[in-house]
């Protein structure tokens, strides 16, 4: 078997399949939007109030860091799912019958993931030339200074992301929605690590910020000795926010880029070696589409599941096949039964420990002070059921039951509202400990924020699920919102009112808007 040829064709087919998908176009659009935001100055890189002249080195470094950060975070969710697709489509089982080894398959997936991310980076890299020219501070394009950061900083990050996605897909419990949440926290925890490494060994800081900060910082210090070592990526500086005189000469310094020594390059490329190592590890865990190697999670009596009962032909054929005509009528208003069924479907499959943890959250929400309950207990209480909410609106597509469900009576006016209401009930039940606490403490403001969040969460999940036909979009967006709002005290998006009065004036109308969007989306699905 020609190994290179096998990997090439595996990766090529997978790459083509993905770049022809709608989600790739959306992500490409977001990347182009990032480029535009940078070009108009809404996203920038600065060292406290100082920044480098917009020459090739500065713009290239800035764009490569933005790409590392953005695609390092969201790129994972874009590329993850390729093995799952092979599993769902049945292509995987066909592959499993060929001489293809686990290592080759995993490398094919890794290269395909990497290629998709590199394609995104190419868009940003090309946009970099335009950004420098639009800024107009330096018209001389130095291709090496501009693209070296992409090559030495971003590409290794992309390799890591591609490999982590493959690794997560190969490990059963990380391959689904739980893995999506775990990656978010993994990414968040890179920052404390980055901070330490920036000081000790910046080239080993995965996202490359330490390297740029150190090199550009030295240039800044040479021009502005009072520079104290800060580094910001994203938030643009304004004279109001910093309270300084914004004359260019008082904050722009000259920087010609990182001195790319062999030592630095080697350290950066060591991430590619780590990525290859992770892919090898992934191949150990990969089940090669053998269902017997996957744990039958949440399915009881698994040993006897696939064993069909033995019934003799004469016995089965002689059995009467007559069905009693149905005398009960179809009840067009059997909403409660649908609601109960939807609720059962949401909670079915949760293990005992899930209920135990929710009980723990309930007691913690009840027994702590109202402030603690709002600031700490509620955010975690309403993060934990994320995988339950993320099934709203897309469960039919995900399980391929849509043809049966959508051809039943009133799928739009009975099943969809019941699904939302079931999500709402789960939200209320899980957060009820905090609600009782706030009620008994007379914290009306907190209670209102709690209520608006209880409406917002299932509405957001339902709309995301219906529009994207996937659980992934809600999982990514909700965790991001949760991190920014309740955890990082960005008040406009503190939907829980964890550190503020909540933003009920926005979140309640917005929830109604989301419900309407979900209905419109579902109506379109029914009328395709």
């Amino acid at each position: 078997m020609n190994t290179t040829r096998v990997i090439y064709h595996l990766a090529r087919a997978d790459f083509l399949e993905r770049v022809r998908r709608y989600s790739f176009l959306i992500m490409l659009g977001l990347v182009a939007f990032l480029g535009y935001q940078t070009a108009v100055g809404n996203i920038t890189m600065r060292l406290d109030q100082y920044r480098g002249e917009f020459n090739s080195a500065w713009v290239g470094s800035m764009m490569s860091l933005i790409s590392s950060f953005f695609l390092g975070w969201f790129g994972f969710y874009l590329v993850k799912g390729s093995v799952a697709r092979d599993r769902e489509t049945g292509v995987g089982q066909i592959m499993a019958t060929t001489p293809l080894t686990r290592i080759l398959y995993m490398f094919g997936k890794f290269i395909s993931n990497f290629s998709v991310l590199v394609a995104m980076n190419l868009v940003l890299a090309i946009a970099t030339i335009g950004i420098q020219l639009i800024a107009g501070e330096s018209t001389q394009i130095n291709l090496f200074s501009m693209f070296a950061p992409f090559l030495f900083i971003t590409l290794p990050v992309m390799a890591l992301v591609a490999a982590v996605a493959v690794l997560f897909e190969s490990i059963g419990f990380l391959s689904g929605g739980f893995g999506n949440v775990v990656y978010f926290f993994l990414f968040i925890f890179i920052f404390p690590l980055a901070d330490t490494l920036s000081k000790t060994n910046p080239a080993f800081e995965p996202l490359g910020m330490g390297l740029i900060q150190q090199s550009a910082g030295e240039a800044a210090k040479a021009t502005f000795p009072e520079y104290s070592g800060g580094f910001v990526l994203g938030d643009p500086a304004t004279d109001e926010s910093l309270g300084i005189d914004f004359e260019p000469a008082s904050y722009i310094f000259q920087w010609d880029g990182v001195d790319w020594t062999p030592d630095i390059i080697l350290k950066r490329f060591s991430f590619i070696a780590i990525a290859i190592g992770l892919t090898l590890v992934a191949s150990i865990f990969f089940d090669r589409f053998d269902p017997s190697r996957r744990k039958p999670k949440r399915i009881k009596n698994s040993a006897s599941i696939s064993t069909p009962q033995i019934v003799s032909a004469s016995q089965t054929l002689s059995q009467p096949v007559h069905l009693t005509p149905l005398t009960i009528s179809v009840n067009h208003f059997a909403f409660l039964r649908v609601l109960f069924s939807e609720l059962k479907l949401l909670l079915k499959g949760q293990r005992w420990w899930w209920y135990l943890i929710m009980l723990g959250f309930f007691i913690a929400g009840l027994r702590n002070s109202p402030e603690t309950a709002r600031q700490f207990i509620l955010p975690f209480t309403w993060l934990f059921p994320i995988l339950i909410w993320s099934g709203l609106g897309n469960r039919e597509m995900h399980n391929n039951t849509q043809q049966m469900v959508f051809s039943s009576a009133s799928p739009l006016w009975r099943q969809l509202p019941a699904q939302w209401l079931a999500g709402f009930i789960v939200t209320i039940l899980t957060g009820s400990g905090v609600a009782i606490n706030l009620l008994s403490a007379g914290d009306t403001v907190g209670l209102l924020a709690w209520f608006s969040a209880a409406i917002f969460i299932p509405s957001f999940a339902l709309a995301s699920g219906v529009l994207s036909n996937s659980h992934k979009v809600f999982e990514v967006l909700y965790v991001t919102l949760w991190y920014l709002g309740p955890m990082n005290k960005i008040y406009p998006v503190d939907y829980l009112g964890a550190n503020s009065n909540g933003n009920i004036g926005f979140f309640i109308p917005f929830s109604i808007f989301l419900i309407i969007i979900a209905f419109v989306g579902r109506a379109r699905q029914l009328q395709n």
Binding site: I299, I305, Q319, R337, K344, K348, Q403, S408, L526
Partner: protein, 289 residues
């Protein structure tokens, strides 16, 4: 009970119609839809099942426009798609209870109906196991059961016997025949013997068009004197296949017994035999009509 389809069409791309100018009057009984892959059978069934909206034409259920008021039909519809999934964490009873609820069935009597259906599809012993562990054939039987939950007046089954073992296929055929009294059953399949055993009417579909619709007897009558059998040498078989529609071959000690569908007697030694549905299918789909 009547289903009237007039000039039905579904356009997928500017230059591609999955179905076009399709008109049919369907009354009680079993209508077998026969046609090659990509003929438009599933498109037709999805439009009848209110899942896909037609680009043109009308579907009337007892004179009510199904496109405008899909819920009128949905209340009395049972549908088994060709490709469907189940919720893996539910067992068969829970799944059927869920489907009964969203079909709008009252709780009273639903349990009895589910029990009966589980017996009919031979899943009583597996009823409490999670569906995630079911084999393909067992899932197919759950699909059949959900389609029958509301005792539908219109039952649409797309490739229902795929994945079923021979015993289960016979059971399902018997069930269809038993059900077909005062209701319309539309059965799409590649397995001609399934249609032969159950259908009261047959519609032949190819390239998005209705080629012919008649009773099996009338269809076979048209083939009287057009099906021939005789024995040829093995070496002559490839040439014969180039020239005629060969609907069957049986290897014998003195050569190969061939069965050919042809308007004229193909060879002097060929003798006319009774046609079957497979012959009719090949004759009409092959464009010899």
């Amino acid at each position: 009970m009547q289903l009237s389809i007039t000039n039905l069409g579904k356009q997928y791309r500017r230059d591609f119609w999955g179905l076009r100018d399709f008109s049919l009057e369907i009354k009680s009984g079993i209508l077998g839809l026969l046609g090659p892959n990509g003929a438009g059978k599933s498109t037709f069934m999805r439009m009848l099942a209110t899942i896909t909206k037609p680009t043109e034409g009308t579907i009337l259920w007892n004179r009510t426009d199904v496109v405008k008021s899909p819920d009128t039909l949905r209340a009395v519809l049972g549908y088994l798609p060709q490709d469907f999934g189940v919720y893996p964490n539910l067992n068969a009873i829970e799944f059927l209870e869920y489907m009964a609820a969203i079909k709008g069935l009252d709780a009273n009597g639903t349990k009895k109906r589910i029990d009966e259906l589980l017996q009919v599809v031979n899943l009583v012993e597996a009823a409490k196991r999670p569906l995630g562990g079911y084999s393909g054939g067992m899932k197919q039987r759950v699909g059949i059961a959900q389609a029958l939950l509301n005792d539908p007046q219109l039952l649409i089954v797309d490739e229902p016997t795929v994945g079923l073992d021979p015993e289960e296929r016979v059971r399902f055929r018997n069930l269809l025949s038993d059900l077909s009294g005062e209701r319309i059953v539309i059965l799409s399949t590649h397995i001609v013997s399934d249609v032969e055993a159950t259908a009261t009417h047959i519609a032949l579909v190819n390239k998005g068009q209705l080629l012919r619709e008649s009773s099996p007897e009338d269809l076979l009558k048209e083939l009287d004197g057009k099906v021939w059998e005789w024995i040829v040498k093995s070496d002559d078989l490839p040439a014969l296949k180039q020239k005629h529609i060969v609907s069957g071959t049986i290897r014998r000690s003195d050569g190969v017994q061939v069965r050919v569908v042809s308007n004229d007697q193909p060879e002097a030694q060929a003798r006319s035999v009774s046609p079957n549905l497979e012959d009719a299918y090949l004759y009409f789909i092959g464009g010899n009509a």
